[in-house]
Amino acid sequence: MAGQLHDSDFKNPVIQWIDTRLPIFTMMQKEYAVFPTPKNFNYFWNFGALAVVTLVIMIVTGILLAMSYQPNTELAFDSVQHIMRDVNYGWMIRYIHQNGASMFFIVTYIHIFRGMYYGSYKKPRELLWMLGVVILLLMMATAFMGYVLPWGQMSYWGATVITNLFSAFPIVGHGIVTWLWGGFSVANPTLNRFFALHYLLPFVLVGVVFLHVAALHIVGSNNPLGIDVKSPQDTVPFHPYYTAKDSIGICIFLLIWAIFVFFAPHALSDPNNSIPANPLQTPEDIVPEWYFLPFYAILRSIPNKLAGVCLMFGSILVLFVLPWLDTSPVRSARFRPIYRREIWLLVLAVFGLGICGAHKPEGIWVPLSRLCALYYYLHFLVILPLLGKFERPLPLPESISKAVLRRGGGPLPQGVAAKPMEKA
């Protein structure tokens, strides 16, 4: 085989020359142009693409910010002010990045909910799902360290509270905390290494996202019916059908993001973080950013620190085994009459935890957060395993195209095999 060139269908001589030596164009054509995709996606299937777009925007704006940021406790706060005031369009880059973190979590949480509602984690997509949970964990670590960088009051005290959680572990706990800090308190070494890691982790994220997408392209996408693709009639090529549909979602998503950036840039941030970090003055209430509130509420609902920490981390780790906790063979909630309603209770519990997390753990908030946390675990550890055994699913449609026909009526679909890209 030595010296043989790869076959290429590309006519353009330059592209062909490259493609016969390194078939990236053939690969792109196969994975993103003709890639057969179920034709019945709803707009929930936009959110994966939205997350990729967000990741790219975050990396680009983040690199630009890093050019003017100083990871030093004496300089960090003022360097962010310098970006906001003196750097050309620095305010725009920073507001995009700062609000982008929230946008990233909104998009990702909806993406995860879609996976749960339509059973996207079930065989053969278990590994795809687990890679997604790894992405979530990396995102959380990245967001947490990024929030420390402006070195405001919430940056400092948030970092202190969260890193201190590790001290709950017996024997090794305090050693871990000292090791994380690079000293005996959150201080300059902590900020410096958080900056290094905050710069590194997004690129690790890119790698895991690549694996996530690669795994998706092996097993193919799930769809709102949750049934397998049976014939080419059930699919359309990714391009132009889903590039067009994703584009709508991207425009609307960027519109929402832009409204935050240009008209309400502080809507999602805590005023305390506009005060420089002061180790001698604890803010009245230390709250993380909104996207961590449900987990923070679980932590604070448990009187025992170690148990609280374990339950908080466990609330995400449990997602790793979700494919095996859910015993129902039916993927889509559309055909699971009980699950379809029950999952909204989980959503309610998570929102409830989010609201509890924003309040001091006193009065009604303590029992409420306990109730919600209990339900969260009940859903995954008790209800899902049992439901698969007792629930009687509705009859599944024969195929995606049959279901589409029954719903829409109208003429028979034409062959929807690869459609040539229209040239303007």
Binding site: K39, N40, D78, Q81, H82, M84, R85, W91, M92, Y95, V236, P240, Y241, A244, K245, S247, I248, C251, I252, L254, L255, A258, I259, V261, F262, F263, P265, H266, P271, S274, I275, P276, E284, R341, W344, L345, L348, A349, F351, G352, I355, C356, H359, G363, I364, W365, L368, L371, Y375, S401, V404, L405, G408, G410, P411, L412, P413, Q414, V416, K419
Partner: protein
């Protein structure tokens, strides 16, 4: 199932309804009308210029604004000559002299706003509590401009029976009501060249306008760009929707 859901929802709603009564100890600052509110709002520059005068003559005796330079004052429409004159009227640190000693000299437009104290420790030694830097004060307080305005207007005699700690002053809107800052504005603290009123509320209104500008000097440009971005994205959404309809027109879905 529905019963459980409504139980959950009722608990949540009850909890939300119950919070304001429990959480607030200081009264909520009454909302004011500000020129920069809303998606089209801009700073009233005459107010901001008068506000700078209030800051310069009153606030800056104790409070720094370390994130601002005199050149930034072009943002509230002060002329180049005015800015040069303002900067030159103060002595600011200018590095080291030939002997290696710190040296002061008249400010230039590139100088940082002169700070009343060399560092927070010096401020603390003189005043017992270091006054906060005012560069970001509007962003750094819950309630923003309404809160700062309420504080400036909120100095009243302590109600009978209220125990005031030594060195603190009673303020209606400060959390806990005991504020280290003595009443800064008494009315008539400054005389405005344009003859605008200099009562406490008028001075407070002007200085809050100035501080709001100082905390967010690019706001006007931000909103202008924002409208263009929003308009562009609305058009793009419409276009992509039309394209999507066209592309999908031959598929039953």
């Amino acid at each position: 199932m529905r019963a459980v859901a409504s139980y959950f929802a009722a608990l949540l709603l009850g909890a939300i309804a119950a919070t304001p009564a429990m959480a607030q100890e200081a009264p909520v600052p009454p909302p004011q009308q500000w020129s920069w509110q809303g998606p089209f709002g801009t700073y009233d520059l005459a107010d901001a210029q008068r506000g700078f005068q209030v800051y310069k003559d009153v606030c800056s005796n104790c409070h720094s604004m370390n994130n601002l330079h005199y050149r930034d004052l072009a943002g509230i429409a002060l002329s180049e000559d005015q800015i040069k004159a303002i900067a030159a009227s103060v002595q600011v640190p200018q590095g080291l002299d030939d002997q290696g000693n710190p040296k002061d000299g008249p400010g230039t437009p590139a100088s940082m706003f002169r700070a009343p104290f060399a560092n927070p420790e010096a401020a603390k030694a003189a005043l017992k509590v270091a006054p906060p830097d005012l560069s970001n004060i509007i962003n750094a307080r819950e309630g923003g401009p309404d809160y700062v305005y309420a504080i400036l207007n909120g100095f009243t005699p302590a109600p009978p029976g209220f125990k005031l700690a030594e060195g603190s002053n009673y303020n209606e809107y400060f959390p806990g009501h005991q504020i280290a800052m003595p009443q800064p504005l008494h009315g008539g603290d400054v005389t405005f060249a344009d003859g605008a009123p200099n009562t406490i509320p008028a001075e407070a209104h002007d200085v809050v306008t100035f501080l709001a500008w100082a905390a967010d000097p690019h706001m006007v440009q931000r909103k202008q760009i924002g409208w263009r971005v929003v308009l562009f994205l609305v058009v793009m959404t419409g276009l992509t929707y039309a394209v999507k309809r066209q592309v999908w027109s031959d598929v039953e879905h």
